[in-house]
Amino acid sequence: MRAATEAKSAAKAAAAAKTTAAKAAVAKAAAAKAAAAKAAAVALVVGLIAALVAVPLVSLARIAAGAGPTGIWRALSGPQARVAILHTVAVAATVTVLAVAAGTALALAIERRPGRRRLALRLGVAGPLVIPEFVLGFAWSQAYGPAGLSDRLAGLTMPGLFGPAGIIAVLTVYGLPLAYLAVTAGLAARADPALERAARSAGAGRWTVLRTVTLPLLRVPLLAAAALVFVTAAGSFAVPQVLGTPAGFATMPTLVYNDLAFSASSAAFTGLTVVALALVVLVLLALGPLDLWLARLRPSARPESPLTASTARTAVDHVVTVIVCAYAAFAAAIPMLTLVLTALTRGPGLLPVPANWTLANFGAGFSGGGGVALLRSAGLALAAAILAPLLGAAVAGLARGRWRGPVATGVTLAYAIPGSALAVGIIIGYGRWLDGSVTIIGLAYVAKFWVFGHRPVQAALDRLPPGLTRAARLSGARPATAVRTVVLPPLRVAMLTAAGLVFILAFHELTMSTILYGPGTETFAVVIMNQQDLGGVGATAALAVVLTAPVVAVGALATWLTHRSSRSARRPPITPIFRNDRGLTYPRRR
């Protein structure tokens, strides 16, 4: 009996061992399969980065290197290139200092107020971001230039609008919101008002607190903002083209664009690629030290606590409100109103009064294929808005561990490469097959805006506590369910945000499109730029209104909806419940 029982249990044990071994083998096979799939996916992402970033850069370098050291030196030391390099560095550096200083000051003044008052001021500062750079430059020229609206109404023109002062002013208006948003994010994530209160109660003055507590805590976002503004200003083509060309003020992107017209000879083309490559090197030289500095600074996270120090209105509050309103009116509202009036006025040189109003400019603007170009731009922007977040998710999801750094750098590098250099590199790399096609424009958009698909998704993944999916699995959820219920909800919001951002940027893109378009592939921004070149002021204004209005309308609607939903579902302050291995805190899930 006992022997029989023992035999039975031995058989059971053997069977169990067999099952365990089989399970182990299955698990091993599955793990190997997953590893292979992951390796293939990583290879795909790395391959795509190589195709979109490395190929254009290497193509540029290959042509530029053909000139030899003497040729490169000659191309860079020629009077035009030398002046353009100097202009680019001076403009980008000035804009960076102005935009970061003003953005930081405004963020500190606005972001520690109660929510409702904050929203309107935030919109006033960040508003210009939804206006395409090119449109803003053109609108400023119509509002404040010679024979512009202010000149006609009050005999006032902005001195130096056509030239470096005007370029710096408009690029600062564009860079300021970038700095403002970066610092705002930094204030929310890093600078704890409690530390400032502690310093104040220990007897430190307002300036001492700012200098010794607030700004040091904001070092990381400030550096990031400076990098972003510098890259944007150095690579800007549209604003220097609109405001610099009449004054004979060239920057590197406008020089590359204008030199393309003379680049039929290989010597001229080589010279152009040298300047384009120098622009890339300039941006990377500025970014490199900032990046190293950023890497050395440890992110200092703070526990969640309410941002606002006080809800009482002070005199300073009123001053800030007046400053922001005046700024928003001068920088965006008056130029955009002028743009609408110009679009409605019958001909150049006529007063924008109702007697001269017409809708003919819209008809004229759309007569030469503008409608098709609008659809083409919308299609391209939509494709980029779908592809960039998906590729961003692929990078964020796959490239962990040792791949994370290089892959993220590759994606960021594509954004840092100025559009004119990237476009010329893409023509050399892919023109043989895709020259003048919609595909080549789409390729450039995805390369340039991939980072905007990557960053929000990466941030959302980083905010996910690492144990959460494991916890879901341990609670009995299947892998797919765990991903669907735990990972996807926060990612969905991030991917939608990324898609919206990429859509706007691609819809407004001009620098690369104007170099890459061919027969029947003009984008809407290119049509507007051509109209402006042809002196069709009314038609240019009409098309610019059409380009800007949808994004402004959607932005306003989104803001209103967010505001309404946040008012109707106001929650009590969230309480931190645990920390992850990076020392970041997460709210309790409800």
């Binding site: 019958r346 494709a383 797919a480």
Partner: protein, 336 residues
Amino acid sequence: MRLHRTLTAPFLLVAALAAVTACGSSTGPADSAGSTSPELTLYTSVTQNTVTAVLNGFDKLHPGTTIHVFRATTGQLNARIAADQHSGGLRADVIWGTDPLSMESYAQQGLFQRWPLPNLTGVPPQDKTTYFWGTRELYLVIVAHKGLTPMPATWADLASPAYKGKVALPDPAAAGSAFAALGYFATAPGFGMNFYDKLKANGAVQVSTIPEVVTDVAQGRYQLGITLDSEVRAAIAEGSPVVLDWPADGAISLYSPIAETTAAKGAAGSAAQTLLRYVLSVPGQTAIGKTGWQPVLPGIAGPARPAGSKEVYPAWTTLFGRQTQILQQYQSIFGA
């Protein structure tokens, strides 16, 4: 497995979208031989309404031919042609330019076939070369803001102190006709590049294109400018406060040439020649005349000219081969 499944969908979508975008792209006809409906690609810097009028007329006579058009300023046309050359070769079958100097540059790069229709009649000998023939006559004149007194009488007056800081010039690197004006002044007796030095010293400003000069003068940014007669007439018709000032020493006359490229082969080549023949036919020339330009064929009505108005001609043959040199000289004075 999970990873695999999660990623399959996005990558399939990426591939599908890439395919869709590629299908929707238009790279122009690669080779239309064997196709029932011929296709051809036209690169042009001619005004949009003129291109539209001529191609509409052509379409009525040759409804089966599809024409892909790239229309831009001469500067952008140069950039597109250069981009083509650096990525596999020119994609245009026909180039219809604004000025002989830019067209001669293309010819010197070996982009044009010898003129394929030598038996056509009517085009004056001074308006054609071995590679391209003129299609319309353009006249560079002075545009002035309404009410300006005194008005300049001659080209040389633009450099007089009375107009200091009031003159707008079109950019020869962007606009073909401005290039022709540069060619004229560079070689004409009494002017030379010295004329541009004087204009610069007198505060003249370079803007981009010919129409932009008219717009800027209409808006009052500048009081005077060098532009084309047809653009001034169009602005006056719109009610803009500008007047046409035909210089007493003569408007600078140039012809707007057309040519078949070496890329035009097979059916595209035949279609290119059909288009060339149409542009130089009575219906094509009439369409050009109706859009405000002087047709090149004698006897076809163009816009009315002031009585007793004169014209002068750049020395084309002397200028051919010197395009880069004079442009560089100009840019050393007015360059950005």
